[in-house]
């Protein structure tokens, strides 16, 4: 039986889809059987970030409504044998599936895959309830901004009321320079408010944008700081004790870090 992890944030644009794609790919990189599920019906992005848009035949809604079997809707990744994606429908909206239907689909996937990563839409309405319905665990993504932290807090509150295990936090798009000059919330500030376990910090990295536009998850590129951060998160999910990334080093420090961990 696999493990279903929902990636959520409340606020839009903090990097849920990027995080889903990269953690999923990093887990596949570690040799795990992984399936990514996009629940952002009507505004799907995961397929674009993964570069799998042109391979979609059926989608989540088709499976829910019985127009196809689950296996038919899964899109196999072009890089990894054991990485699959269940795309969302683009022509429907969130209300076209119910939380129960998503739960059944996730349950079905758990028989086949070791990790199921569910990309949650922004907001806390129907789409959010769909996304968390089948999840065992949750990863909350936030950025070091007050608005994002506020929304993360709201979502953590909702997750605590649900059946999902206590959520873990990813702080995305950290800019060490800004934190140093006091213009950005630092990790401690955020943890003090949110009061949940941190599973990773990801530095802001231009390579992420580049990679997303090319349909190739950043995690594939070992020269990217964000890639190392995502690989670390994946290893922590697998149960390794990986120390937090040191962000305030000079450029080039990531290389040393990588050498230290023997990656790349």
């Amino acid at each position: 039986m696999g493990e279903a992890i929902v990636v959520t944030s409340g606020k839009g644009g903090v990097g849920k889809t990027t995080t889903t794609a990269n953690i999923g790919t990093a887990l596949a990189l570690q040799g795990k059987k992984v399936c990514l599920v996009d629940t952002d019906i009507g505004l799907r992005n995961l397929d674009v970030v993964m570069g799998l848009e042109n391979r979609i035949i059926y989608d989540l809604v088709d499976v829910a409504e019985g127009r196809c079997r689950l296996g038919q809707a899964l899109v196999k990744d072009k890089r990894f044998e054991e990485l699959y994606m269940l795309p969302a429908a683009q022509t429907k909206d969130k209300t076209s599936v119910t939380p129960e239907q998503v739960k059944d689909i996730v349950l079905e996937l758990k028989k086949e895959y070791e990790y199921i990563l569910i990309d949650c839409p922004a907001g806390i309405e129907h789409g959010f309830r769909n996304a968390i319905a089948g999840a065992d665990k949750a990863i909350v993504v936030t950025t070091p901004e007050h608005a994002a932290v506020r929304d993360a807090d709201r979502v953590i509150g909702l997750l605590e009321q649900s059946e999902v295990e206590s959520p873990k936090l990813v702080i995305n798009r950290i800019r060490p320079g800004l934190i140093k000059s006091g213009d950005m919330l630092d990790v401690e500030d955020i943890l003090q408010v949110l009061n949940i376990d941190l599973i990773g910090i990801v530095p802001d990295d231009e390579l992420v944008i580049k990679a997303a536009n090319m349909g190739e998850p950043t995690v594939m590129n070992p020269d990217s700081g964000a890639a190392i951060a995502y690989r670390n998160i994946a290893r922590r999910i697998l149960g390794d004790a990986v120390p937090l990334m040191q962000l305030d080093r000079k450029p080039g420090a990531f290389k040393k870090l990588k050498k230290f961990f023997g990656i790349g």
Binding site: H146, R150, D151, D153, R154, I156, G157, L158, E160, Q192, V193, L194, N195
Partner: protein
């Protein structure tokens, strides 16, 4: 020797005595004074013939043991026949009058409504709200909103270990930091209304506002 009567008053009526016992002071203090009074004063009344006695406890909430303790003292002189013992106002339901304790993290979008006084163990995050008819005491960081005295109680106070709220309300008054008041960090503080204006002070000064609180003066 005359006793300064603070908590015990004895009134004579046509066919007996009425003992009016203060309902605000600590119970032990009340018993002490009652004992002292019976032993050191009113000898002329207490050594006389058998007397009917009514005891009035005011709105104090008493247990059976406490009632028994009062009766025990009054039986001492031997000539007092207790006719009735009553608490004038019906005691309030326990859950409304006593301090209710809750724990957790109040997160953005969550609202905690409570009737009575509340002790909250944990943080109140920005966007979280506590609304209470009585006082609110927070052992943790207050970063969200607290509304004390929701039904118009201007005596209500709000106290927090870390006072950094987005907004505070007591009865009708709404106040927001830091433009209206500044909090001095690293010491527990409380907010209260003084002449319709919200003020912040250190927690030990709460006794200046609340005379009915039991004060610790050392052992």
């Amino acid at each position: 020797m005359t006793v300064v009567s603070k908590h015990v008053r004895i009134k004579g009526i046509k066919d007996g005595l009425v003992f009016l016992l203060d309902d605000k002071c600590p119970f032990e203090e009340l018993l002490g004074e009652l004992r002292y009074k019976l032993e050191h004063s009113h000898q002329n009344i207490l050594t006389g013939p058998i007397m009917h006695v009514d005891i009035k406890l005011g709105s104090r909430l008493v247990t059976d043991e406490e009632k028994e303790a009062v009766l025990e003292i009054l039986r001492g002189p031997g000539n007092l026949l207790i006719r009735s013992i009553e608490a004038q106002n019906a005691p309030k339901p326990v859950n409304e009058s006593s301090l209710y304790v809750m724990s957790g993290i109040l997160r953005s979008g969550q609202v905690l409504n409570h009737k009575g006084d509340l002790l909250f163990l944990g943080d109140v995050n920005p966007g979280g709200t506590i609304a209470c008819t009585g006082d609110v005491f927070i052992l943790g960081a207050l970063r969200g909103m607290v509304f004390a005295g929701v039904e118009g109680n201007e005596e209500a106070v709000i106290a927090a270990s870390v006072m950094a709220p987005t907004q505070l309300r007591i009865a009708e008054i709404i106040s927001r930091p830091p433009d209206e008041w500044e909090t001095r960090e690293s010491s527990m503080e409380f907010a209260f209304l003084s002449d319709g204006v919200m003020k912040i002070d250190k927690i030990h000064n709460i006794v200046k506002l609340r005379r009915d609180l039991n004060v610790f003066k050392g052992v």
